[in-house]
């Protein structure tokens, strides 16, 4: 017994802050949030158990919940592929034989680093305003621009463009992945006279699949959690006409504006389950489309 303690004591001493954090800031709150999701709770009165009522209301009667899901899924479906395609395209251009790669890499990465800033969200509102820069550029080509931010038909796309502008971090991961592909594969293909696009589909894509998969999962989870830019650009409400009612914005407002903490907890749990399902599907299906180098099939 004493030896058991002596063996484990140092490790647990090092783990103490994390263990405290895990119980107090992760496990505890998750369970509490699950409990609250079955209650009505306004922070003033004690939580009152209502069973599945929150979930029932959410799925059967809450139009804004469905709207928020719709906005978020549309955003994920557009922004993630757009960002990844940009990232892969630019990474491939940078991969081969450029001495100035460092400078380009830095320029392309900077927007990603600044992307979460409120300053950038404010900037985006002005760029896509009716009298903003984007319309000035379009006017140059004789195109009558829209009031992108205030028109519910177009407002979401301004955020997709913002996401595309920030392709830097998946680009860096793609670059690291491209470095790992042996160059003699391309040389051999070149000698065989294989056309470029075939080299891309037969060498680059299959060998890069694990990295693509990694980026896809990571970026999708990130996209589901989009908050600050949507909050700022929509004035904190999801306006115009709820077209920017991102799931997290809706959740925030339910919790901290209307103090429907029980309902917001139910919303949070649905988000957790969506992300968990997505992650599980990606991992379960990955064996069909991700081939690691050391595997033979």
């Amino acid at each position: 017994m004493r030896r058991f303690i002596a063996r484990n004591a140092p490790a647990y001493a090092f783990l103490t802050p994390w263990l405290l954090g895990f119980f107090l800031l992760a496990l505890g709150p998750i369970l509490a949030s699950l409990y609250l999701s079955f209650t009505r709770y306004d922070m003033v009165n004690a939580p009152r158990w209502v069973g599945l009522a929150n979930y029932e209301y959410m799925f059967t009667r809450d139009r804004r919940f469905w709207k928020a899901l719709n906005v978020t899924f549309t955003y994920v479906a557009l922004a993630v592929p757009a960002r990844l395609i940009m990232a892969l395209g630019v990474a491939m251009l940078l991969d081969k034989g450029l001495r100035t790669i460092g400078l380009y890499r830095a320029i392309f990465y900077l927007p990603s680093l600044l992307g979460a800033s409120i300053a950038i969200a404010i900037l985006w509102r002005q760029l896509f305003a009716a009298d903003g820069v984007v319309n000035a550029v379009l006017g140059y080509f004789g195109i009558q621009g829209a009031a992108w931010i205030t028109n519910p038909d177009t407002s979401l796309y301004t955020l997709v463009v913002l996401a595309m502008w920030q392709f830097g971090s998946p680009m860096l991961i793609f670059l690291a992945g491209l470095r790992g592909i042996p160059k003699d594969l391309y040389e051999a293909a070149e000698i065989d006279g294989t056309p470029k696009w075939r080299q891309f589909t037969r060498i680059t894509l299959p060998l890069l699949a694990p990295v693509i998969f990694f980026n896809l999962v990571l970026q999708t989870i990130e996209a589901f959690k989009t908050f600050s830019s949507a909050f700022i650009i929509s004035n904190g409400t999801g306006a115009p006409a709820d077209s920017l009612l991102f799931y997290t914005v809706y959740l925030f407002n339910e919790a901290f504006k209307f103090f429907r903490m029980g309902y917001a907890s139910a919303l949070a749990w649905v988000l957790l389950i969506i992300i968990a399902i997505f992650t599980a599907i990606s991992f379960l299906t990955s064996k069909y489309w991700v081939h690691y180098e050391n595997e033979r099939d």
Binding site: P17, N135, K225
Partner: protein, 298 residues
């Protein structure tokens, strides 16, 4: 025709082919650069526009693509600094306090946990490591509400404790993961030799592991700095008193004042809010790029 002559001819043709190929390669490189330069301009233009607008007179800002101001309005910066009921001096001090404490907290607590996971043998290691990895997946929004209720009960709302204390409890599992990956690569013999010499685990952590892990610690520190500086959601929830606002919250106040012809000031303060991030980026560019590529952050 002599053989020598033929060979000379052949060499000539080969030379011509090589010149052509080089020319095509040079042409390709040129096109690639032209393309990359135009992408760079598109990437940088919004940032330059922000910078330019911060110096322009009000009626110059909108609908104008030109970056050069007709007249430099340096006073936007001075006016913006004092443009809110509380001056930006306070906001910058607040942001600095929160950021510095968060970085310190993350470095200490995450390196502690990472050292245990990466270098020490103990009962339950695999299980706890699995738990730690699972917390990486959990969206912050799930723990947000109970945490808020808890911190409210503790009387911590409107203080920096809800923003800072979690950092000392290794709440950013991502940094633990990053450091574990790094610590694992260090040769085992180091610890073993030190252990035989009678070093305690803490001594090994402090005198051997940490000094060898400066790249990992640096990466974690910089990202911790940038993310805390830019963080909007947590301050939005926990800080109500304008005197305790961080810079991002203060910027949002400008939006509520819209129409009072304060665009120039708003842009000026936006530019200033990006300065720490840009400086960190320029100084530690190599480290940041390596950190991203090996670990897959944001």
């Amino acid at each position: 025709m002599t053989l020598a002559h033929e060979m000379e001819e052949a060499a000539h043709v080969a030379h011509e082919l090589r010149v052509k190929r080089d020319q095509r390669a040079r042409m390709g490189r040129l096109l690639k650069h032209l393309f990359l330069i135009s992408v760079s301009i598109v990437m940088l233009y919004p940032l330059l526009w922000l910078l330019a607008s911060s110096l322009k007179p009000e009626n110059d800002i909108f609908g104008s693509l030109t970056l050069w101001p007709t007249e430099f309005q340096w006073h936007n910066y001075v006016d913006g600094w004092h443009g809110l009921p509380v001056s930006f001096t306070t906001f910058y001090i607040n942001s600095t306090i929160v950021t510095v404490l968060s970085v310190i907290g993350n470095l200490i607590s995450c390196s502690f946990a990472a050292y245990a996971f990466a270098r020490l043998q103990f009962t339950g290691r695999t299980f706890l490591f699995g738990l730690m990895m699972m917390t990486l997946m959990i969206p912050y929004h799930v723990v947000l509400i109970p945490q808020y209720v808890q911190f409210l009960r503790l009387g911590w709302v409107d203080t920096y404790l809800p923003l800072v204390v979690p950092r000392f409890l290794a709440s950013d599992a991502f940094f633990i993961f990053l450091m574990v990956q790094f610590f694992r690569q260090l040769p085992r013999e180091l610890d073993e030799a030190a252990m035989i010499d009678g070093c305690s685990p803490f001594k090994i952590y402090w005198a051997i592991i940490l000094p060898l892990s400066l790249p990992a610690l640096g990466t974690a520190a910089i990202f911790s700095l940038i993310w805390t500086w830019e963080d909007f959601l947590a301050p939005l929830i926990y800080l109500n008193d304008i005197k305790s606002y961080t810079v991002p919250l203060a910027l949002r106040l400008f939006l509520d004042q819209e129409g009072q012809s304060s665009y120039g000031q708003m842009f000026a303060m936006s530019v200033l809010s990006l300065v720490p991030v840009v400086i960190a980026f320029i100084m530690f560019q190599k480290l940041i790029v390596r950190g991203i590529a090996t670990s897959g952050m944001k």
